[in-house]
């Protein structure tokens, strides 16, 4: 048997937020793993579920409050319309660098072999049903199931 050389074999990414910047971070990391021949799975929990909720995934926003990198006073960030403005600006920039929208990105991830899991506890908490979710979500599972998915040498877990 070969000795394990420390290479990354599988990325288990936990997405707990639905702000556009976090969703994209998780998706880019998962896609980037597959492009390197590394397995990838995403566990959507709490607000992260919105990224796979059919009616919500097209309407995710950038966070303008509590985000120092926006370089905008927190009071201003809370004004009506600010999130929408920042979001539309960010979406324009993303289109320029050939970044797909959330729905298309999910399609790419699925075609690339990324597994998508919804957190059972969060599903119950938000009263979501499996039918509310993006069609290619693999299943609704528990944290324990997710850990089981990640068993094996070379698995890394990441909380976004």
């Amino acid at each position: 048997m070969n000795e394990y050389n420390g290479e990354v074999k599988k990325m288990m990414i936990i997405l707990s937020k639905a702000t556009l910047e976090n969703v994209y971070a998780a998706f880019v990391l998962a896609n980037g793993a597959r492009m390197e021949g590394i397995e990838a799975e995403i566990f959507f929990t709490f607000f992260g579920l919105e990224a796979i909720h059919k009616k919500k995934l097209e309407h995710l926003h950038v966070a303008t409050v509590g985000n120092p990198a926006m370089h905008m006073p927190t009071m201003l960030g809370g004004l009506p319309g600010m999130e929408a403005l920042a979001t539309s600006m960010m979406k324009k920039e993303m289109e320029k660098i050939d970044m797909p929208d959330v729905h298309e990105f999910l399609d790419i991830l699925v075609a690339s072999g990324v597994k998508l899991w919804a957190c059972r506890l969060a599903m119950d908490m938000f009263h979501y049903k499996k039918e509310d979710l993006y069609d290619d979500v693999n299943d609704v599972i528990t944290v324990g199931d997710f850990y089981k998915q990640g068993s094996g040498i070379g698995t890394h877990m990441l909380f976004v």
């Binding site: 896609n31 980037g32 021949g37 050939d98 298309e104 790419i108 075609a111 072999g113």
Partner: protein, 102 residues
């Protein structure tokens, strides 16, 4: 650096990508594919020809573009080149590894 591929001295970089496309030929492709445990079929060749054309036209390659190429969809692309399709296919095609994260 140089590496003997299919009986010829070929200039490659540290990751094994050809640095001079004029040295590429089908036998070179076959041997690099073999090193990556891939047996090239007609479908592989169609994809390789497409990648080379895009590269010649200086179009940056990404998974998203390949999915929209009408040559191959993303699922089949992964099936043809399972261990990192873009990096494996470009290596076989004798063109640089794309720097894209997407």
């Amino acid at each position: 650096m140089e590496k003997v591929i299919a009986g010829k001295n070929i200039a490659v970089n540290a990751e094994g990508y050809l640095t001079d496309f004029s040295q590429w030929d089908k036998n070179v492709a076959l041997e690099i594919a073999k090193e990556n445990n891939i047996e090239l079929t007609d479908r592989h060749w169609e994809v390789i020809n497409y990648l080379q054309t895009e590269h010649k036209n200086q179009v940056p390659l990404s998974i998203r573009k390949i999915g929209k190429s009408n040559v191959v969809d993303i699922k089949e692309f992964y099936a043809l080149f399972p261990q990192g399709p873009l990096k494996t296919s470009t290596k076989i095609a004798g063109i640089p590894k794309p720097a894209s994260c997407l």
